[in-house]
Amino acid sequence: MLLFKIIKYKFLLAVRGKEFYIYIIGIPLIFMLIYGAMASSAYSSIEPIKIGFINNDVPLSYSLGNDTFNVHFGNDFYRYIKNVTYENSTVKMFEIVNVSSSEDAEKMAARLEIAGAIYIPENFSESLLNFSKAMTYNILMSMLAAKANEAYGEGNYDLGTRYSQAMDDISSLANVSYRLRVHFIGDPTSSDAMTSYEYLWKSLVNFAYVQVDLILNEYADYLSDTYNITINLNSTEFSTDVASTFSVEFDVIGGKAGTAKETFMQLYFSVLVPGQLTQSIMFGSTVAIYMIGHDIERNLLARLKLTRLTSSEYIGGILIAWGFIALFQSGILLAVAFALGYLRTIGTAAHIAVAVIALALGGVITAAFSMIIVSFVSERVSAPLVMVALIPVSMFIAGYFPVPNPIIGGFMGETITALDLLPWRAVIIAVRKSLMLSNVYSVAELVPDVTILILWTILYSVVSFITFSTARLKKRE
């Protein structure tokens, strides 16, 4: 069948050309290596990241003997996080913006006014206090028990009894439950959001340990004074299972909440790898324009008009071929990403199928875009121009750099912003969710993204068919 032959030969023509390896493999690969190296050595940006802070924490108090202590850990955490600095730097990590509600935070994040927002739930103080009490109990109980045994062993029953009374006094601390949970609201395709999310994890753990230390010391002082015993906390070390104790939920804007359990590196690469794949597919425009232009300039197109080839076979063949070309180039880049350790999350077969569809549709969109351009401008002018234009555009689409991105509407529960008008944005989102965040998104949740992508593909294909067949296949000067 002719269509298959066109697909086969257009594919071979693309992948046998040196342009393919320079523009659409080489350049994205260099970007990937540079960004990967930056991520491996240090965080790439040392500018404060603008984030929102929504504090719904309810203050509470607790008694220790005759003393009452008031706590409002949400406020303390706000002050704490405000002063967090980049590692090995005095530059503050965050510029905090007050945001009144989650809805406002979502809107601001979608417009890229903020990278995301920290949401402190009502039970934050209660959970952290309980966690601190539980840690205090664990540490002090083992210490007091050892001291009591030691006193009894030496025949000092009075001292042994006082240690035992101290143990009884704190036994109520054992019966507390805790799970320290905060939320981060943001767009997971933004590297700033991912960096903020990672630092939020670290900050939460550090802040919680500081509070534990404070409360532990308060209890130690109280027991020492009350029971006239000695408690030496100087060499005390404590640890807990972070994963079961702390939880930072990533609330994806416009989507359902999920807990991203990746490490920072994985999250970074979940921005980087799909970003580079999409960039590579976008750069395919240059080669597509060159190839289509070659057919025009060399009079091949005029020659082909004398054959049985129809416009739909020619255009359709090129569009489908570019779907395969996109998969081929993605395969190469993914293999490199895998070899470098950038790819760790493997989703289900259905997730992988969605990623394959998204990447292939990205290739089709690229070819359609190229045909639209070549319909109006010669390839000698358009190929370099498109290349120069697509480098920054691909960076914006990938979310490497924030640009104003006003919300322009909604679709199937998804927020549509100005950047979403660039069809490759749909590719990167679908690839990211299906390939890199498959543990966050179910395949069903990817339906809106894939639907948007299919609509874009249809629109671009139809426009390319109309423009190219009118301007290049049917027009006679």
């Binding site: 032959k5 023509l13 046998r16 070659h294 005029a302 008009k305 004398l306 054959t307 049985r308 000067e477």
Partner: protein, 333 residues
């Protein structure tokens, strides 16, 4: 297949059927450049018809009109009885093939893949396509390089591949734009031989060239085109006979001066004289002037040579248009 072609060829020649008809075609490009000015031609089936003219004469424009790429501003064109407006929509287009000036193939495909790709576009049955590919590879000496990428072929091989690709659909009419341009003499001769074979197969071949040797050797009829106008159409022999005669005298000067030209004129009498650079060409149609010219050679030190030689189409073009095919300004008396 070969017998078929020959049969068709003989039949067509006998009938002298008009395959391409161009009637008072004018083409004016945007900006007012007149590329063709009331051009009329009839091309018969089974003949090799050459459009001979310098670069910019309008040859390629005419070919682009014939292949449906350009619209004539005025006039009528029909190919195998179909009007140019209907040409690309009708199946007649499948009986015409075209080789533009540029080598027309996909450089990153092998020779065989190129033939397969273009053949597929004619939706030929698989076995027929395979057979045609084998035949064309053999016919154009491309069998040994069939697995080679086209970009790696020599210039001559590339040209052969372009022509071979144009024959995959077994066309009745083959249109070639400057097929021998840029080829070394050996490859040119080989290509001309291939085209002669195609004539034997009954193909109608329309070619453009500014290379006289090619046109002279191969053409049944030649149309001389200059500045968008068809100046004359005839067989090679008739053209030469009519405008130059069998032989011409060529006098080569160190530097041709008006005085020297006047001297030649006085000797040549009724003969036609044309100049091309420092050369003077004189016809021999009204008597023998060579002896008189040889006499002046012994007196004039600036004459390098006086040569009596067979006339060529280049001479014909010069006498008709006053220009060489290279385009320099000349004088015809």
């Amino acid at each position: 297949m070969l017998l078929n072609h020959i049969t068709i060829g003989v039949y067509n020649i006998m009938k002298k059927q008009v395959t391409i008809n161009v009637e008072t075609v004018t083409k004016i490009y945007n900006g007012g450049v007149i590329a063709l000015d009331k051009v009329s031609l009839e091309i018969y089936s089974g003949e090799i018809f050459t459009l001979l003219g310098p670069n910019g004469a309008g040859k390629t424009t005419l070919i682009k009109i014939l292949t449906g790429e350009l619209k004539p501003t005025e006039g009528k064109v029909s190919i195998l009885g179909v009007n140019y407006e209907e040409f690309l929509k009708s199946d007649i287009r499948l009986r015409v093939s075209y080789v533009p000036q540029e080598n027309i193939f996909w450089e990153n495909l092998t020779v065989e893949e190129n033939l397969d790709f273009i053949g597929s576009m004619y939706k030929l049955p698989k076995s027929e396509l395979r057979e045609k590919i084998r035949f064309l590879l053999d016919e154009f000496d491309l069998t040994d390089v069939r697995k080679r990428l086209s970009s790696k072929l020599s210039g001559g091989m590339k040209r052969k591949l372009s022509v071979a690709m144009s024959l995959i659909n077994d066309p009745e009419i083959l249109i070639l734009d400057e097929p021998t341009a840029g080829l070394d003499p050996r490859t040119r001769a080989s290509l001309i031989t291939s085209l002669e074979k195609l004539r034997e197969f009954g193909k109608t071949i329309l070619l453009t060239t500014h290379i006289v040797e090619s046109a002279e050797r191969i053409s049944d009829r030649v149309a001389i085109i200059n500045k968008g106008r068809i100046v004359t159409v005839d067989t090679v022999d008739n053209l030469k006979q009519k405008h130059c005669g069998e032989e011409v005298i060529e006098i080569l000067y160190k530097q041709l001066t008006p005085e020297a030209l006047e001297t030649v004129k006085s000797i040549a009498h009724e003969e036609r004289i044309a100049t091309a650079g420092d050369k003077v060409i004189i016809t021999q149609q009204h008597g023998n002037v060579i002896e008189d010219l040889l006499k002046i050679k012994s007196k004039a030190k600036d004459i390098l040579a006086v040569i009596l030689r067979k006339s060529t189409l280049e001479d014909t073009f010069l006498f008709i248009t006053g220009e060489t095919l290279g385009g320099s300004e000349n004088v015809v008396v």
